[in-house]
Amino acid sequence: MIKHHLNDELLMAYSAGTLPEAFSLVVATHVSLCDTCRARLEGFDAVGGAVLEIIEDEIDLSAGSLEATMARIAAMEQEAAIDTPRPAALRNALLPGPVREYVGGDLDAVQWRSVGGGVRQAILPTSERASVRLLHIPAGIAVPDHTHGGLELTLVLQGAFRDEHDRFGPGDVEIATQDVHHTPVAEPGPDCICLAATDAPLRFSGWLPRLAQPFVNI
């Protein structure tokens, strides 16, 4: 049962198409797991539809616009249309569809790198406005204490973690801003796998040597 959901501003920014790609991946993944947020998101899409409907300025199309469009349609009849394809829901996959698309496969295709203390990460390729990574935290292990310099979203895909404030299980998303200073610990049980996006570099203040940070790209 998902307890921690996306907030309105994230859903609206994703619907408006202004969220950085890394955050959009977290939103798309949570929505794949949570019909409550899918319905909220489609509600915000309806606002976009209303905005399109009430546009006041009269903009003329070029002469022959419909004919040009019909020619375009005929030319791409055999090809896939240009809309963004949506990932399929697979019954036995361990990772949700949007994450699989960025990994290039399921959990066994993730290229993990150790960041010390048994914690592993895999940075996923997105535009540079923000970054997103998969984190693998063994049960019972603390993620090094870190402070935030911007917005950070952490979505649990497997296992659970607990910090000073709350517990986060599969599908839950933690929304942390710069004033949150926390020490998440993976709960006993299956190892914790999270999808974490941030628009600022994480600054670990715990036991991970600061000197190592430039090399591990944290």
Binding site: T18, D45, G48, A50, L52
Partner: protein, 188 residues
């Protein structure tokens, strides 16, 4: 039933004709209404006239090809076309990939219920009317958000919208869909 709701239902019906029988006359009607709006939307989002024309044609060609995935019980024609235009804009102006949620579609043989579709068009109309009647300052803020003109922290100020009823209608449609998907899962 109000005239505006009838119009919305009519756009949905035209899209269904495009999907089921590749009806060029139905498409021409959809085009005449929506293509100028898509072009205006793209220009307000920062595209010049030539680029907006080019992309509006792309968007409308996608409407033709993807008409089969339009679901009138979950969205109005305007909403569905907005999502295609928005995705094209991200691709064009940002050159960024857009991660999309997993697909949840009715599938070819499971047509959504006509009554559900009509209720959804009524809810959309109610939402549009609510937005149109907002104080100008707030309405402009919402428009700017959807033209890609606000950062996600500025967007927080534009989020207080009356989305309650449309959200619960969509939620019901999703529940029916999940139910059907799980029944099909048992048959497999």
């Amino acid at each position: 039933m109000s005239e505006a709701v009838e119009k919305r239902a009519a756009w949905a019906a035209e899209l269904e004709l495009v999907a089921s029988s590749r009806d060029a006359a139905a498409f021409a009607k959809v085009f005449a209404h929506f293509a100028p709006r898509v072009k205006a939307f793209l220009m307000k989002s920062g595209a010049d006239a030539a680029m907006a024309e080019e992309c509006a044609q792309d968007v409308m060609a996608t409407v033709w090809h993807k008409a089969g995935s339009f679901d009138a019980s979950r969205a109005s024609a305007a909403t569905w076309i907005f999502t295609i235009a928005r995705n094209r804009r991200i691709d064009m102006l940002r050159r960024e990939r857009r991660p999309e949620p997993e697909d949840l579609s009715w599938g070819p043989e499971a047509d959504p219920d006509q009554e559900d579709a009509m209720t959804m068009q009524q809810e959309t109309e109610r939402l549009s009317a609510a937005i149109a009647s907002l104080p100008e300052k707030q309405r402009v803020l919402i428009e700017r958000a959807y033209f890609g003109d606000l950062s996600h922290s500025e967007i927080a100020e534009a989020t207080g919208l009356p989305l309650g009823t449309i959200k619960s209608r969509i939620r019901m449609a999703l529940e029916r869909l999940r139910h059907r998907m799980s029944q099909e899962g048992i048959r497999e």
